[in-house]
Amino acid sequence: MKAKSPMELYGLLPRTNCGECGEKTCMAFASLLIERGKKLEECKPLLEDEKYRESYEKLKDLLAPEVREVVVGVGEHAKNLGGEDVLHRHDLTFFNKTALFYDVWDTMDDDALKERVERIQSWQKFYVGEFLRLDGVAVRNVSGDPKKFAECVRKVSELTSLPLVLCSYDAAALEEALKVVADKRPLVYAATQDNWKKVLELVLEYKVPVVVSAPNDLDRLKSLAATFSQAGVEDIVLDPGTYPTGKGLETTLANFVRLRRAAIAEGQKDIAYPLLCVPMTAWLVYENEVDAAYWETILVTIFTIKYADIMILHSIEPYALIPQTTLVANIYTDPRRPVAVEPGLKVLGSPVEESPVFVTTNFALTYYTVESDITSNNIDSYLLVIDTEGICVEAAVAGGQLTAAKIKEALEASELENKVKHKTLVLPGLAARISGETEDATGWKVMVGPPDSGRIPDWMEKNWPPK
């Protein structure tokens, strides 16, 4: 964004400190705007009062992200692509997670299609308090037949509300498909140097976002983008081509970096659009399924870090999906985000007097992992969350945030002695070192659990109730 300090924004806000935005002062609101923690539209007076019209427009301009934000899909699954402001996550944060779209194709038979869409749609993996999921479906026009393509697109759109990418180089096929699903705001792939006129007509008519594609030709890519933009299309995604191996891979990386640098470091608005990457090209090189899925995941790694906003992939094997979605989550974790949860006593399920008491830290990754390990195995229990200032077990033991004294303090505040009879605490295996001290400090019996909370169910079988 153009704005560099909250001061620049403050002067344009109403400066009445009315509090409607949920902040006490306009200055506080301005600070959040610059961190993109609030939306300008949350300042109601600014929107509603005619006299602020000009300020509002100026603010909008100052706040617009360097890379244009393009929305694909509608409703709760709609995905925002782009909208990025920095080249390195530590400069602020990356905002809109790279969207991972998995393919289906129009030569699949009905059952296979149904099963695959179902798998893409329902796939989930728990991670730090939420589920990682897949973002959308890319429909490929393998048949070459517009009618068949449109028919497949219709079936997919009936099976899922995930956003779609319509993939065909044939404008006639894209048109047939758009007649069916234009209202779902699919992303059209792609306008090329050959078909751009017809595709431009289509996207103007159906008002859908479009990918302009010029493999390894950034001049042409820019020229396509400029043409579309001048014709009134702003929801553009750029495809500079993805070459999976060798020098082609080196060049692909260079293209992504140069495009994003032009957008962010140089403010070149005519090329500041989201980028599309096709890791699926790995399948053109590797025949073996595992090799191809691995290489796809490698491309996901490179281009999640280096600036792709949306990807098209093929493998839906867990050994590809787990690392892919986890990496995207990691790279897009806000480095400024507090990593702690509220400490204190958590009640999991419906514990009774004989139920175990587990001890853990308030580091979000630790807490959510442990909590979900316990609840998904239906273990009724108490979880005593120690305030370790958001540090994980091992580092907190090493750094002195997880101590016998802290446990004692939390135990007393929890009034657990009135809730359980056994007066026994279960410590994480990685905190075994402080078990003796904890016993001395609290007067409770201390048992050392397994090093990984995923093993708590096995451990319970052998060790609970305590003899």
């Binding site: 070459g144 103007l204 169910p457």
Partner: protein, 463 residues
Amino acid sequence: MGKKLTLEDISKLLEKYGVLEFEDVKIEGDIELKVVGGAGISPELLTTLQAALQSSQMMSQFAIQAAHGLFSILALAKLAGYPVESVLRSFGISAPAPAAPAEVAPPAPAVPEIVIPEELVAAKFEVGKQEWVGQIQEVALGATAADGGSRETVVKLGGEKTLPFYGFEVHNPNPPRIAIDCFDMPIPLAKAVREHYADVMEDPGEWAKKNVKEFGADMVTIHLISTDPLIKDTPPREAAKVVEEVLQAVKVPIIIGGSGNPEKDPAVLEAAAEVAAGERCLIASANLNMDFERIAKAAMNNGHVILSWTQLDINQQKTLNRHLFKLGVKREDLVMDPTTAALGYGLDYAFTNIERMKIAALKGDEELAFPISCGVTNAWGAREAWMKASPIKEDSDWGPREYRGPIFEIVTGLTLALAGGNLFMMMHPGAAAVVKEVTQMLAGFKDVEKAAEFEGWLTWAEK
């Protein structure tokens, strides 16, 4: 209105809005003005402001840097309610032209007319290069006969002039390198790793050989883990024999690691450094919470390179490096290990930590301009890498673990290579090979015979 802006006001404002740093920097000559909107002005205020601006003495104590860029004094004045820009204008002080107002779109016509141009708009894509002032120190590992050692290969690390794999700007001289681990005793390993080493676990020499001959390791790491008092408490002299064995078995440069026990490691690494004198090994590692002086001396006296290890903290890394240089370690004899965390278990910290170090070094911070080593083997700590099935019932099926483990190691390693890692300590042979292959390609050292036709993916069909 009509209030005077005093120095005290300014510092109060700075405090209120979270200004982070004050440094002894003089503001001389031009002060950059960021100017926005405004109204009337009292002449009194105007004088105050002008005086404030011109009194460079008053300003000299402040370089005012806030979390989001430089605050100009005028912006602060503005914040305090002073209509700065009109003051300036009326005084003829030139301020940068205010940002062009956003174009207000004309009301849309009822039926938008679609005009399709005849030709594509002509355009040329251009973008500037990023200029860096710093360069990463090049460090060579392994000494050949000519240099008084017995290695047949030398591994050069570092020497970068730009970010990793930015060959379009300037080619960095040395691609990332892979070291494969071996241990001085059999250790518990994830199943997918263990099966590759089951036959050599009892024999570190054979293990090291296998790493090089079969798995293509550029280097071998021998971890003297049995020296840990809680494991076998092997005496340093005895542990050193294993190092000799490994040096005999392979001709690549080697890395010598202790057990990680801060009390014991100095003695162990000292003994190992002595038996390996002249071989230019990487001694792993010196850490702030141990007798790093003893380790540094052992490395220096026997012609080795030292690994400076800290835990995910740039300032600690600078501190330790500084300590080591004070002891006499030369710049060409130091590699850093800023700590690796696994995919899903802190990889974001490790990535950003390394990326920040590399950028700081390229920007000229000489205390951080050294090659970086990454303990990628840590990836096997992620439960997704080794656990049979998800402990969480709601998860979709995790599938076979023998495919999950290696890809966790690959993604962890490759991520850190993109952050700026130079040396990767790995375990799974397949993962090591893949990381080597892809980083060689990205660095421009490896091509393929036939490039893929990009457009082919759209109509690709499974065979």
